[in-house]
């Protein structure tokens, strides 16, 4: 078994267009959620979201690329460039042949579906652009990353709703740990903030109309975000031999399925995923200093997640910190675990715990240290990132300092 480290990170999300901007916003407890700027917003009941602002595809991509890149692919390519350039890896020869890209997304090219359904249903057009299919397919982003960076090894896209990125990163980790690949590009992206995307979520009646307030007694639902988080996972000795800067170690993971309900979370399934990640990483629960929560801000998730953490950690649950950065960047659905991994890296490297903002009233069912409203300086050596998806599919990743 090989050790696996992260040697590059990149992102674009409502808090910033880079990792450094995102870290700064997380430290300051900035709220990236605001009024939605999308077509027909007046026909939406939910009018807020964590939208990426100031990201213009025009000028960044040429005409041919624009016709092939849905917004979720555009985000992915921007974040991948930041991550791979930071890592300093150049993929050629044997390294290129064996390295691949595994990404998560729940919806893929949602706005491409939306735009073209509009064209044929609303506007009555009878033809669509020839690239609709290659633009909207869920693996488009992974494919374009592979083409731009010459990654010829195992490459695919994972889709497990809100756990997509964590499942993708777990797969990439397993490949590097087993020796199958020397390096993998991984993470995920999502871009559902268009009329059809928000309208679909509205239907489920789980969305907040005003704010995402995880763990707060007056929380009233989730708020959608958009963006991407991309990482370079690299075999430790490979990274060390070339003198790469190591951000942290990926220590282990676990994936479980509730096998019970299509939307309601299960304490047992979540607890098994958390304890499984600890066991896989050979980490004692008492070593965990911080958990980046799934923390969606729904009534059901937050209390179930806190109960699962209490079950797994016992008395130590009251000593560790657990925060939900969705309060700041919104819920990036299939991309959320990737952006949230940044809060874990910031905790390990900078000793700064990102806060749960919007926290107003303690909830006895969420009686943990949720790092309310203000970031905190704290030295932590082991952190977890939780993701618990609709469909009962859970994935937890453990990271530690190296």
């Amino acid at each position: 078994m090989k050790r696996v480290v992260i040697t590059g990170a990149g992102t674009i999300n409502a808090l910033g267009h880079s990792v450094s901007e995102t870290f700064a916003a997380m430290r300051e407890g900035v709220c990236g959620i605001g009024p939605l700027d999308v077509r027909d917003v007046d026909r939406l009941q939910i009018k807020i979201g964590g939208q990426v602002k100031g990201f213009e595809a025009e000028g960044r991509y040429n005409r041919q690329q624009m016709s092939l890149y849905d917004r979720f692919t555009q985000f992915t390519l921007a974040a991948a460039r930041e991550a791979i350039e930071q890592s300093g890896l150049v993929f050629n020869g044997e390294l290129a042949v064996r390295s691949g890209v595994v990404l998560g997304t729940a919806g893929g090219g949602v706005s491409t579906w939306d735009d073209n359904y509009r064209a044929v249903y609303e506007e009555g057009k009878n033809r669509v652009h020839p690239f609709v299919v290659p633009k909207l397919m869920n693996n488009a982003a992974a494919s374009h990353v592979s083409m731009e960076w010459n990654l010829k090894g195992p490459s695919y896209t994972v889709s497990t709703a809100c756990a997509s990125s964590n499942h993708a990163m777990a797969q990439a980790f397993a490949m590097v740990r087993s020796g199958m690949a020397p390096a993998m590009i991984t993470g995920g992206s999502e871009s559902m903030l268009c009329f059809g995307g928000v309208k679909a979520w509205e239907g489920l009646r789980v969305m907040s109309r005003d704010a995402c307030r995880p763990f707060s007694a007056n929380r009233n639902g989730m708020v959608q975000g958009e963006g991407a988080g991309i990482f370079v996972f690299e075999e430790y000795e490979h990274a060390r031999a070339r003198g790469a800067e190591i951000l942290c170690e990926v220590a282990g993971f676990s994936m479980t399925s509730d096998a019970s309900d299509i939307v309601m979370p299960s304490k047992n399934g979540a607890a098994r995923a958390i304890s499984g990640a600890l066991a896989d990483a050979r980490i004692a629960g008492s070593d965990v200093g911080y958990i980046n929560a799934h923390g969606t801000g729904t009534a059901a998730n937050d209390k179930t997640e806190c109960a699962a953490v209490a079950d797994v950690f016992g008395a130590h649950a009251d000593r560790l910190m657990i925060s939900s950065t969705k309060s700041m960047h919104g819920h990036l659905i299939g991309g959320t675990g990737a952006v949230e991994l940044l809060a874990c890296i910031m905790a390990l490297r900078d000793g700064v715990i990102a806060p749960t903002i919007g926290y107003q009233e303690p909830d006895p069912e969420c009686a943990l240290d949720v790092v309310p409203n203000e970031a905190r300086d704290a030295k932590v050596d082991v952190v977890l990132s939780n993701a618990f998806a609709f469909g009962g599919m859970n994935a937890v990743i453990a990271l530690r300092n190296i």
Binding site: R63, Q64, S67, R127, H129, P130, F131
Partner: protein, 87 residues
């Protein structure tokens, strides 16, 4: 713009060339237009002339629309416009 000028404008945009550099004798291949560029050009032609081009990328040579040169494309469009207007 007449049909010829419009087609040349469409093809030139796909090939990232000035329209002056596209002649009616040019083949799409000589202009550097690949298979994706070809289907995009056909889409743009359908939009511009409000016609349906019977083109199947699986078997371009068997299709009843000759794409061997800019001139043959122009001729094909004029024929389709006549047929599809009549129908």
């Amino acid at each position: 713009m007449n049909v010829k000028e419009q087609v040349i404008a469409i093809i030139a945009e796909q090939a990232v060339l000035d329209p002056e550099d596209v002649s009616v004798d040019s083949t799409l291949e000589s202009l550097g237009i690949d298979s994706l560029g070809l289907v995009e050009s056909i889409f743009a032609i359908e939009e511009a002339f409000d016609i349906t081009v019977p083109f199947n990328a699986n078997n371009p040579s068997e299709t009843d629309f000759d794409i061997s040169s800019v001139a043959s494309i122009i001729a094909g469009i004029e024929r389709l416009r006549a047929e599809q207007t009549a129908a």
